[in-house]
Each structure stands twice: as C-alpha cells, then as structure tokens.
Amino acid sequence: MDTDSSMLLLGVGGGGCRLVQEAGKLYGPGMRVVCVDTDSATSRNGMPEGQKFLLIGGSRLSGHGAGGDAVRGRLAAQDDRKELAALLDGVRTVVLITCLGGGTGGGAAAEIAHELYSNGVTVLCFALLPFSFEGEARNTSAVQLLPLLESNTASLVRVPQDSLFADAGAERMDELLERSNGIIAAGVSMLWRSVNSPGFIALDPQRMHDMISIGGNARFGFSVSDAEDRAEVAVRELLECNLLEKGSAIRKSQAVMLGIMAGGDLRLAEIGSIMKSLRAICPPNCRIELGTVLDSRFDGRIELVALAFEPWRESGTKSAAAHKSAETGSTGPGGEPPPVAVAPPLSSVRRTPKSRGGNSKLNVVVGKGRFQHVEATIYNGQDLDVPTYSRRGIILER
C-alpha cells in the first residue's frame, strides 16, 4: 500500500494551518500536507516545501477571513468543495487539525469533515478548544460544534488548550505557544513516522486506519524526557499529564495507540518498561498498538505520544466507507436500500453506533413538519423535506 499518498494532514483555519505547517517541518519532506483557510495571509510568506494551500470562499470573503463567523466558514467550505476534493484524491485517512471557536476553524472544519466522511474517507480530527480566558462566546461556539465534528469524524481528539498549556510548563507566553504548538506538531508527526519511517516496531497503516475507524473519541497525551531513567520518567509524565486527565483517560480506554520516538540508543528494556507501566493502568481487555521511531537527532531522549480511545466498537459496525455506500444507494445485506428518509446523513441526531454519553441536550430530533405525509424529495441520498439547517448540522442560537 502506498502509505504516503493514502494519508494526509489537513489544517483548517489559521490555528490549524499553523500547527500542520509546524508538523510538516518537523517531519520533513514526504508528508502530504494541505492547509485550508479563508484568510490569504496564511500563505503570504509562502508555504514550506511539499505543502499546499487552498484559499476557500475567495469569491465570498475576498481572502479576508471569516471574521469569527462559523456560518461564513461553512459557506466558504461549500463554495470550494470541488477544489478541496481534487487535493484529496486517493486519500484514505485524513488527520484534520483545527482550532475551534473561530469562523474557519469552526464552521469550515465541520463542513469539510462532513464532505470527507460522505466520500468514505476516515478522519481523525484534533480539535483544539479555546482557552477559558478567550471568553464565553468562543467557548460556547467551540462546544456547540463538537457534536457536529463527532458525528462526521471516525475519531475526535479533543485537546483543551488550558490542559495543553498546563503540560507545556513554561511561564512566558511566547515560550508557552512555542512549546504547546510543538507538542501537537510532534505528536502528529510521530503518527506519520510510526507508519512511514518506523523503527524496529512499525505501526501498520491498515491497523492504524482500523483503530481510527472503529475507535471512539480519543484523548491525546505527550511527554518527553532526557533523564537517565528516561523511559520511566517519560511514561510517568505521560500518565500524569493533564491532556490525559492525569491517567484517567487511559484507565477508561479500550484501545491505546502509543508512539515511542528515540535515537539509535533506544533499548529494548526501555520499551519493556514503558509498556509494563502502561499495561498496569490500562483496563484488562485494552488493546495496545505500538510503533517506534528512531531518529539520531533524538539520541539521549525519549518522546511518547499516546492516543487513548474511548468505547471500542466491534468490527463490522458502520465506518465511513459503509456510510458512503449507503448514501450512494448501494444495497445492504438484505438487498434493501438504506432508509434515507428516516435517517438523514447529516443532522444533529447522533448516528448509531457511535453514540456515547454526554452532550445529549445538544441533539434534537427534527421531523419533516407539513411534508410528513407527502412523497419525499430525495436528492443524492438526502431527504430534502427535512430542514436544511438540521441536515447540515447547524446549531442555532436560541
């Protein structure tokens, strides 16, 4: 399998683009990176080699950005849907990074995730939540978009920036920003390295794809140590980091993807020590997938990246590819077309079996009103009698 072309790193919005550019620089050539934004300033200083930039909503917003308006961001993504599809040709798995609370990062990211999901692409989304000091409006906007992202991605990794900064451990703002960006960038680039340029333990791309497809939401954790007992220190810090809720996310998880990056001096005993500590707090039936990356620049140091997946679905449940075949009218096992009028593909109703607890108050079942007993208008698998705002997953302010 051509792993390079089948995986793509996609940054949406100013914050998302900044992070993926950082990850791309860390990884070096060979990582397929696309940045999408409504603000042309994102690409003003040129894009790093091998990275592409797509300005969306140019005719609507003239490259000036969405102004913090998620609706504008969504419309901008719709405007250039075809151009985006062309950039994603041949891709099976997308790691999407976005900073929520704004216009493009919020609205466009949700729309793009939906488009990818509808086309059978598996999406792992890192959604950074605003700082608490950014105000109620941004935080509310971010939280409101989470169910929409959740229902259109295979796995959603919520990264509260408050926790990220707490783990970064610096005091100056510029240092904090640099370190926290570095954490996300390092974590994402390690995923790539684990698959594409692994050490002696490779993370099989198909297994990673499967984990993302049928894993639930995930939490992300990161640690680094250059101490003498670096393995023990790194794993301890990983299990105590705020991003993983001080280990609570691992204790509740049913699957963990762990990446170990070190130099050529990585010892088998260190890997054993890390895995032993991890298994000690994982639930008994937790599945652990390990990948290692060796880079001589990391001699004397160990970095750990973990994705802890919440409820683990049995294989055979609905994946993005199955969703796509349902939308295009393929018949299911019984030979019957899927009931499109009953289950619109995009709505604020959670799709089974990805339902999980919490946030149910944001989900409202929407009917068809006066078109309930009228012949349905079906177009591209969607029942157009169901309100458009509901099918597009637009959360209305009350």
Binding site: S59, R60, D69, V71, R72, L75, Q78, V366, G367, K368, G369, R370, F371, V374, E375, T377, Y379, L384, D385, P387, T388, Y389, S390, R392, I394, L396, E397, R398
Partner: protein, 402 residues
C-alpha cells in the same frame, strides 16, 4: 369567454392564478385584462394531493374572475411544474436521397418526427419540443431548407412530464368544467413573459422560485439549453422556520416574508431579537434574528446550489456568461438576488413580465410571470402550427373563443 381572449391557469402550491389576456394586433403584444389569485388547498410541491380541495380552489378563482372581472372561463392553457419534469436531448438523422440532395420542408418534417419519437418516454407526456439546430453532414446550419447534403441531422430538446401527474392536474380542471387546451411547463411560461431576445442571445438562467417547486430554464445563444424542476420551494423555507422555532406555519410565513434575510449579515444593535406576539395557544416570546436568517439562508442556499449543480451536470454553466433572473414569489425575499449572485457568480435580478402589458400596477409582478407567460404561450401556439404531432391527443386545439 370574450372573443379573442386566451386564459392561462397555474394551480400552484400556495395559490391558484387565473390570467386572461387579449392580443393587440397592431403591436402584436398581449395585454392582460384579467388576473385573479386565490389561495390553493390540496396541492403540495406542485402536485395534486387532494383533488376535492384543489377543485374548491379552482372554483374559487373561476368565480372571482367571473364576479370581479366579468370573465367567464370555459377553456384555458394549464401550467404544470414538479420534480418529475425533465429535459432530454435527442437527435435524429435522415438520409437525403433525392437527385439533387437538396433539403426540403418535407425532409424537415420527417426528421422532426423521428427526433420527437426519440424524445418520448413511456409513461410521460412530451410537453414541448424545442429545435436546437441542424447539421448537414457535419456542418451546423440554422436554416437547412434548400441546402445540399447527404445526411440531415436535427437536434432537439424535449420536455417530458409524468403522465399520471399531469392527468391529475387536468382532471381537477375538467371537474370544474374547464377544457384544457394545452399543458405547458411553468419555467417555459415564465421565460416567455420575462426574458428579452437579447438576454436569450447573451445567455440567461431563469429560476422561478415558487412555493412548491423551483423551475429553471437556461438559454445559450438564443436557444433553450436545458430546463428542469425541483420539488423544493418557498413552502420548505416556511416549514424549516416553523420547525426551528416551533411556530405555526402562518407565523413562519410571516417571519419569512417580513423579517428574514437570505443573507446572514451582522445585525443592527437593538434588532437582535424578533418579538412574537401572543397568539392562540402561544405565549409571547422572542426569537434570535440571526438564527432566523441562518435557517432561511441554509434552505435558499441549498435550492440555488441544487439548480447550479443541475446546470453543471448538463454542461451549461461552463458555456454561460450571462445573468440570472429570478421570478416567482420567492424572488422578493430579502437578500435572495444577492445570494443567487454569489452562488452563480453572475449578476442577478428580479424578472419583470416585460413581454406583456397590463401588469404595471400589480404588486410583485414577477410572481405572476408564469401565469402571464401561459397566456403568451396560448397566443403563440394559436398563431404558429406546431412542429409534428403532439402526444396529448385528447386536447382540442381550439383557441380564441367559440
């Protein structure tokens, strides 16, 4: 019916419109002398769902026309719309075997018959056939009679509609003891009353935003390039509002027409909320204006994009450099023309029925474009013989009075 009058009727989802016109022979222009709109019941998405209630609506409009404008109707041209209506592009070939290989009028008639037969679909009525051009061997020509060739090819656009749905509509009129002399696609009617020859030459897309359906007609180089109808319209906007804000359809309609904007723009300070006054069964409350605009914008945006997608599928937009014209009641919603302009990246305006007289003092004239166009269609059909035979054998082609 007064001698020389042609009557067109549109049984729409929201209202039934009866329109009577006469021809000014000196100016060769139609003048509308009677116009009667009445609310419709029993019709959804342009289709009859309750014949009895639809009949009541037709009778109401006939009575109003008779009482208020002293026009008694017993035959008319009927307008139809609906998602079942679609265009087919076909061509047919005829070998020119006469001694001098010259194309004659009979050859045109014969090849036209061939193409029309190809346009027909089982279970459908062929409502219109629109010649798209001729090829003599490989050369495109506009008027082939008298020219030499071995092979004459004719290209045609046929507009088909499901026969059962058309029959349901006609049966309502028959039940009202009205003879239907012809059935015509709503989009074609709207184009007849609104579009100028210059617009058609430059390229134009007409979109009729009705309550139950959205019809569209696209012109390239003066000819109809494609037509279509989508069973989504203003009623869907109203329904979306009613569901989003838990209000009655009547209130939703008022909110749509008076308060909403198809564009989601910054709200002026002090206008962020809309007060809904107390009504039977509803307490006084207010709703978020921006949310209202968001709901309306989402639906209209989707409708217009659907039309755009259809035009792309028919490879029209890539050749299209003209403008967009909106008709129907939906054209008057605030922000619609601007939104359409954004989506099509073309200038957009409301289509006024400039090809008829008599609607100058009517409020929202674009909402009567279809009915007025049906009258024009009636006169044009009466004046010109049709190309080939029509499928609608039961229709008597008798116009202009007794």
């Amino acid at each position: 019916m007064a001698s020389g009058l042609i009557v067109g009727m549109e049984i729409g989802t929201a209202r039934t419109v009866l329109c009577a016109g006469e021809l000014d022979p000196d100016r060769n222009r139609v003048r509308i002398v009677g116009l009667q709109p009445q609310p419709t019941l029993g019709v959804r998405k342009g289709q009859v769902v309750d014949s009895a209630r639809a009949l009541d609506s037709v009778n109401a409009v006939l009575t109003a026309m008779s009482n208020e404008q002293n026009i008694t109707v017993w035959k008319m041209v009927q307008v139809c719309s609906g998602g079942n209506i679609h265009a087919v592009h076909k061509d047919g070939v005829l070998s020119i075997n006469n001694a001098d290989h010259q194309v004659t009028g009979d050859d045109i008639a014969e090849v036209s018959e061939i193409v029309q037969n190809r346009c027909r679909e089982e279970g459908h009525y062929l409502l219109h056939v629109l010649p798209q051009g001729y090829q003599l061997d490989e050369q495109w020509v506009s008027s082939p009679v008298g020219m030499n060739c071995n092979e004459l090819r004719m290209h045609m656009l046929g507009i088909n509609a499901e026969s059962n749905r058309i029959d349901n509509m006609i049966n309502v009129s028959k039940s009202a003891e009205i003879e239907v002399t012809d059935v015509v696609f709503g989009g074609v009617c709207a184009a007849l009353s609104v579009l100028t020859d210059e617009q058609k030459r430059n390229g134009v897309v007409l979109i009729d935003l009705g309550a139950g359906t959205t019809d569209y007609v696209a012109y390239l180089d003066g000819m109809v390039a494609t037509v279509g109808s989508i069973s989504v319209g203003g009623d869907h906007i109203t329904n979306d509002i009613a569901i989003a804000f838990n209000v009655t359809n009547k209130r939703a309609e008022t909110l749509k027409c008076e308060e909403s904007n198809a564009l989601v723009l910054p709200i002026e300070k002090g206008r962020e909320r809309i007060l809904l006054r107390q009504d039977l069964g509803f307490e006084e409350r207010n709703i978020n204006r921006r949310s209202l605009d968001t709901v309306v914008n989402a639906r209209i945006d989707e409708i217009l994009r659907l039309v755009r997608d259809r035009l792309n599928e028919d490879d029209v937009l890539s050749q299209f450099h003209g403008s967009v014209v909106l008709t129907g009641g939906g054209a008057y919603l605030k922000g619609v023309t601007e939104l359409a302009s954004q989506i099509f990246a073309r200038p957009c305006s409301i289509g006024i029925p400039v090809n008829v007289d008599g609607l100058e003092s009517v409020e929202q004239p674009a909402s009567f474009a279809t009915a007025a166009g049906a009258v024009i269609y009636g006169f044009k059909s009466y004046q010109r013989p049709r190309v080939g035979a029509q499928m609608l054998g039961f229709i008597k082609k008798i116009f202009g009075g007794n």
